[in-house]
Amino acid sequence: MNPSLLRELVPAVIGVLVRRGADFASAEDAVQEAVVRALETWPEESSPSSPSRGDPMRDPKGWLIAASWHRFVDAARAEASRRGREAAVAAEPPPGPGPAADDTLRLYFLCAHPALAPASAVALTLRAVGGLTTRQIAAAYFVPEATMAQRISRAKRRIAGEPLDRSGDLGTVLRVLYLVFNEGYSGDVDLAAEAIRLARQLASLTGDPEVAGLLALMLLHHARRGARTDADGRLVPLAEQDRRRWDTGLIAEGVQILQRALARGRLGEYQAQAAIAALHADAPAAAETDWPQIVEWYDELLRLTGSPVVQLNRAVAIGEADGPRAGLAALGEVDPGLPRYTAASAYLHERAGEHARAADLYAEAARLATSVPERDHLTREAARVRHGVRP
């Protein structure tokens, strides 16, 4: 059995159960249990030579609907008898016609409900829309499985009673998918690839140019993944990456999706970020990067978001476009308490030829780093600048 095929069925099957009258939380539980069972018991590969009757391989979706519905009915009966009441659910489901695509779209909105904390929305989205098991999600985020199970059921209680028939906040959906993407490869699940799959599906369900913008941004970042770390696992900064290792197919696809989105004339932050990523992808060598145009996009992005992080990145881009002094002047307007402020300052000082100051700042930035790869990279930068080695 191909687990990814099974996972793709999950949101549609939850939709079917909900249309048959199940509440979202119980439907989601029932489908999760059926998926876990399927992963344990289905054969690795279908054997077309001898398909047996009731073979899930022949109709995986039909099997998953039936298995999930049975589990839902069993759970509802157990709950009813616990409360000493008759089960109100029919053992035989009424047929539930309806557009499955809309169900899936509504699930995205529900799972990324603004009332949920980001970590809860991420977990719920990965389970109900992504079809991952609690165990996989727990492993990807390095928390015990029981903790993740509780996080998911609390999230479901939080949104209980929220109707599944109203479109929600697309902004929170996109934020959740971007959070998943940035988690990268973790445990046995490639969360970046999973986020791309979910963004692709979302883009097929809505015509919103920001969804396309996010998808383009992910594809353009993903295209560089192989070049971002070296054989020893060290971070390789953009300017030093071997551009031959960038995935040109993903870049072409990202650029095409972005161009179509931009043509709609409704610019948003993800499209602007993707435009910056596309300009980097477009440069055959770091020295040929169109920095003035990147600065213009940062101006646009700053206008859209007012984000201090954008302001920081913009200062670095100005340093490339107009020289390190101009970059340091722009940095002077940025909050020094921001993560990576010191690293950006170190970089601009090095470019300005102030090596001793740059080395001290790199060492300070390493002390402030929030991840081990970043800390190690900044420590190396400090050692490199102190010993007068060019990047």
Binding site: D232, G233, R234, A359, Y362, A363, A366, R367, A369, T370, V372, R375, D376, T379, R380, A382, A383, R384, R386, H387, V389
Partner: protein, 135 residues
């Protein structure tokens, strides 16, 4: 049996080798040190002895309860805390001797000039969560 190997930024016995801060080493020395640490973790993973490895940021804060309805009181961060944990590696090994051997190996990570840094590491047994059943 499980042990915690604790690495300290500060605290513990007097260092036997003064290596200076790592950002003052040469780039090659830094690389060699980091490669040794990651190879060590990979090796323990391969032998089935690695449980977990985590690094901690150098700054923390002390926090305590301050009574009903009041926000918790914080103290710090302190620049000169005497004991400062940098990170840990949890291992699951056959014997205390094996834990000592591994700690010794980790402490031999290369520093300036490729020489072992002889870093003090603290070895602490985990207390079991289960009461021992009588044989």
């Amino acid at each position: 049996m499980k042990y915690l190997l604790l690495k300290h930024y500060r605290g513990g016995p007097e260092p036997v080798v003064d290596t200076g801060p790592i950002d003052r080493w040469s780039p090659d020395e830094v690389d060699a040190h980091m490669r040794y640490m990651s190879d060590f973790a990979s090796k323990l993973e391969a032998t089935g002895e690695l449980v977990d490895a985590q690094a901690l940021a150098p700054e923390g804060t002390f926090v305590r309860y301050d009574g009903e309805g009041r926000p918790p009181v914080t103290d710090g961060p302190f620049a000169e805390t005497k004991d400062l944990v940098a990170g840990w590696m949890a291992i699951d090994v056959e014997s205390y001797e094996r834990a000592l051997e591994l700690a010794g190996e980790l402490s031999a990570a290369p520093g300036p000039g490729g020489e072992p840094i002889h870093e003090w590491l603290e070895l602490r047994p985990f207390m079991s969560g289960k009461a021992e059943t009588a044989g």
